[in-house]
Structure formats: C-alpha cells, structure tokens
Subunit: 327 residues, 2 copies
C-alpha cells in the first residue's frame, strides 16, 4: 500500500480527491492533505468522503507545516499541487526536495519547481532511487512526457511546436471567428472565468514560455532558462491582421516552439487546416522526429483533465514500487 500526502488543496487537489473518492486506487491511501495553513493527517488513511471543502473546517486540522509530516511520518508519495511561482519556485521546490531527500516519490503539476530546479530535483531523485514525475505541468491532461518516454522509444525528437495556453487560444479564436478586438475578447474570457483577473502571464506569452522551457529541458535536455526564450505575447494582435490571415485560409495562433535549438513564443500565421490549428481553449502539441516524422496531440490543456496526468504518474509510482518489491 502506498501512503500519499496531497500538498495543496486548491482546484486540482480537490478534483483529484473527488476522482479518488469515486474511483479509489486500491494500492493507494491518502494519509494526509495539507495547505499553506496546516494539515489533516491520519496514519491509517483519511476518510475522503468526510472531508469538508475548506480544509481548516475539518476536525483534527493541525496548524503547521506540511514538511513536518514529510520528515516525521511514514509517507511514500508526495502529490505536490501548491500554486506555481515562476520567480522562486517556492514553496514547491522545498516541498519536493524535502520529499525526495527523504526517499519519498513525488508527483507534481506545479510548474515552478520543474522550471527552476529540474536538473537538481532529477539528480536527487536518481541518488535516492525514487520517482519524480510532472506530467501535469505541461498541456494539462495531454500525456506528452509519458508519450515521448514510453511510446516513442527508439525515435529521436527533432522539434516541438505547440499551442500551450488555453486562455490566449480562446482569445485568438474569438478574434478569428467573431472579429472581436483583443480587449473585448480578453474581457469576455475574464467574465467566463477562462482568463484570470490578472491575465499578464498568459497574454504576454510567459505561461507558454514556461511550458516550452519545461519541454525543452525535460525532453530535449537543452538546459535553458527563461531569458533564452524569445517571447512575444498576443496583446498587439489586431482584428485586421487576423482578418487578412483569414482571407488567405490562415489564422494567427500563439505558437511556442523548439526548433534548431532555438526557443520562441510568438503569434504566428498558421493554415486553418493544419493539425496544430485548434480552437477555443484546446491545446495542441506537434512533435517532429526522425522515424515517426510527425505526431500531433490535441486535448484540453488545463482544468480537471489535468487529473488524468496525476493519475498516470501515480500509477507509474505504483508500478515502480511493485518492481522494487519484487526484487
């Protein structure tokens, strides 16, 4: 039995708990759930059906740091889902390091630590012979890392291009199909809850750049940082530019790319019937490789679908532990 701690109880943590409640994984027990204020912990496993929406409202809620649990209690797996901070990576980096050093497997959807400390975290995981998985950091539920690792063995990845931000894709889609201005489309996206109230990271292309970096460093071992990415957001895309593209069977999409070792994020012209040209909040990732030549994956890049990535990573942890136990 794998004893897991969920650290971070926001949208994704709650969605994961809901799924585990409806469809338990027999090899997995959630022994703790923590947020920034404290934690719920029960050695024999929490009763998920009884947990209240607001963690602090639960009987037995302890104020304190979740890292205490990681060092003091017997935990096998940390599911790290605290909010992303792309400047410091904290508190995620500290959580993940503490876990890995304590020989605890880690599954995360937190982009900060993977962006800022991937090599170090991988090194610690290797040294301690534990699993460190982060499928949910890029493309939501689209299993891009698993796919490259487990389904394209023997092939060589040459380039990656993608629409990796649902908010900007929604905005550009509305501009294309309805002729809206950027400002109007953004306002609509905020009203619908698709864009955050402060949409800077999305519309300036930073979120896409972060994902492109994670792909570049993780899949192509490029060891780059944010300053290596040429970044142009979508704020200056005009309805006129899109309209001209449209007349030529094209549109404008915010494309993140890793081509010839160069990383960039910018609005680009793309043919409407190109596989990468998806609309609404969809994400799409295109891989070029030596043998397969080209493969495109399309799916929802955020929201509840990200739980699929967490589950797949958790099953990888279970399999890995199973192999270890067999030896």
């Amino acid at each position: 039995m794998i004893r897991a701690l969920i650290l971070g109880y926001g949208f994704l943590g709650k969605a994961l708990v809901k799924r585990l409640l409806n469809r338990p994984i027999k090899e997995l027990t959630i022994v703790g759930i923590a947020n920034s204020k404290g934690y719920l912990y029960k050695r024999d496993g929490l009763q998920l059906e009884k947990i209240k929406e607001s963690l602090e409202d639960n009987e037995g809620f302890e104020r304190g740091l979740a890292t205490e649990l990681l060092t003091k209690e017997y935990i096998d797996l940390l599911i790290e889902l605290t909010p992303t901070n792309i400047s410091t990576g904290e508190p995620g980096i500290t959580h993940i390091k503490t876990a890995l050093k304590g020989e605890i497997d880690v599954v995360t959807a937190n982009k900060g630590p993977v962006l800022l400390a991937l090599n170090e975290l991988k090194r610690i995981a290797d040294e301690k012979n534990v699993v460190f998985k982060y499928e949910g950091t890029v493309g939501g539920g689209i299993p891009i890392f698993s796919l490259v690792n487990k389904c394209l063995q023997g092939d060589d990845i040459i380039s990656i291009r993608g629409i990796l931000n649902g908010t900007t894709n929604y905005i550009l889609t509305r501009m294309h199909f309805e002729g809206l201005t950027f400002e109007l489309a953004l306002r609509e996206a905020i009203m619908l809850g698709i864009a955050e109230r402060n949409p800077t990271l999305d519309v300036e292309g930073i979120d896409t750049a972060v994902k492109i970096l994670i792909l570049a460093n993780s899949i192509m071992n490029l060891n780059r940082n944010l300053s290596d990415v040429k970044i142009i957001g979508v704020t200056k895309v005009t309805p006129e530019a899109i309209s001209t593209a449209k007349e030529n069977g094209m549109t404008i999409k915010l494309i993140g790319s890793i081509e010839d070792g160069e990383l960039s994020v910018e609005p680009r012209l793309i043919r409407l019937n190109h596989p990468l040209c998806v609309h609404g909040t969809l994400n799409a990732i295109n891989i070029k490789s030596n043998v397969l030549k080209t493969l495109t994956l399309i799916g929802e890049g955020a929201g509840e679908s990200t739980v699929a990535s967490l589950l797949n990573d958790i099953y990888d942890v279970i399999k890995e532990r199973h192999i270890k136990i067999k030896f």
Copy 2:
C-alpha cells in the same frame, strides 16, 4: 542480447532493416531475415549492410520455411511483417503461434492475426510469459495502444473515433479542395501510388473496419468480429454532397467509430475545424475518456512511419527481458 528474426521482407521489413543499419539497437541482433521462399540465417547475427534488396540474391539464402528457424534455432524475438490476409490471417497466425508457443516474443504490424486470433494469441503469450505487441497494425506510427496502456492509466476509455485509412482520406481531401469526382480522385491516388491497383479494401471501408475492430477488441475488450461492424465505404460520396457540406463549414470524412458498444465505418459530416478533421493521407484518432475527456492523435497512418511502432514495441521487449533477467 536479443536475437531477432524478421519474417517478411517487403516495404516495412526493408525500412526496419535500413533504420537498424543507420541506428543499431545495442541490445538487438538480427540473426535471420525470411520471406515466403526461404531465409538468410546467421547464428552470430547478419551483416545488415551487405544484404541485397532481393533476399534470394544473397549468398547463403536457404529455401525452406521460416517456421523451421523458429523451432530449430535459438531465437528470442520474431518480428512478423508478412502480408496481411484478413480472411485467413495466414501465414501470420501460424508464424506467431509457433513463436509464442516456443517462448519467443513477437512484434508484428500484420493486421490479419490480430483481427482473427487476438484472444488466442494473447492467451498463449500469457501462458508462456512472453511479449506480444502489435502497435503497427493500426494508425501506422501513431502509438495508440502504447498510449492507452502506458499514458492513460487510471482513466476509462468511453469511445474511439478515427480517420484510419490514408487512401480514402486522400481521395476525400481532393474531392473537397479540388471538386474532383470520386473516380477521378481515385485514379489520381492510384497514379501517385497512394492507392493500390485494387483499392477495394480501402474504398469499401474494409481496411478501416479491420482497424476499428482491432481497437475495439484490444482496447475495449469487446470481442467482436467483422460482421458486427456497420460498413459503408466512400464510393458513393458525390462532389455535390461535399460541396454542400463545405458551404456549411463542414466536409465528409470516412469515420470509423466505437460508440456505446456499436462499431461502424461510414462517411460522416464533420466540421472543418474539428480536431479529427485532418487532410491528405493523415490519420487521426480521437479518444473520449472519463478523466481526460478528449484526446486526439494525428500522424501518418502508413508507410515508413510504421517503423516507429516496431521500434517502440522492440524496446518494450528489451525492457521486459531486462526485468526478467534481473529477477
């Protein structure tokens, strides 16, 4: 070291040998290559760079049945690439059964045996504790079986829809963009070598039905056969029908589907900006599932890209043997 026999030396066998020549797999030695007339065999491994295009022209070519090699010599892996026969499954079924019964792992791109004998072959493989992989049978290089098995763990597949035949997709694409009739587009496809001279299996939807069946039986454990699939080909699709669709932002594509336990292949209306709506010889597969909701994969469904599927299956065999040896 894994000692492999390639059985079937047509387009795909040659493409695989070419790739292995350019980029050898260090854990793999090709000890034999066979066709319907006989075989080349060398206990220490064949020198791939010296093998002539026509197998019979090679020094040391022995007339005889490749199954003799499988039973008499020490072989670890059969790579079965003989031509597909969807009526009998032969000679593929005999080859694969002989191998599995002899505790030899099998990788194949031959649709016949998987269509007609999947359960039996899986049962033998389980009994003998060997690997039986057939990624190349559906969608060319698109790693659909690997993806479902290894990247969507913990999710439940609800439905599958796809454009699974490049020839008919090319024909429908030309009808859509150029206004060609079916007959003209087919003639063009034959001239370009995209369609076979006898295109019946493709244009009547049989090839798509075979692939839908393999997906249904393999991924969704439905245990159906060809007579359970409602099949309508593309021969009656008119330029007028496509033109009307086009006026409404749609087109007509040959869609194979597994929905609510029903299997069908038929020309269907599809929105031009739907992720599944790909053009030319591209294939596309859309999966609906409980957690991820929707994922679409797009790639070349035939030709050399299928080598990617063979390689991935071969690496799975290597990994599996590696785990066994460790015990």
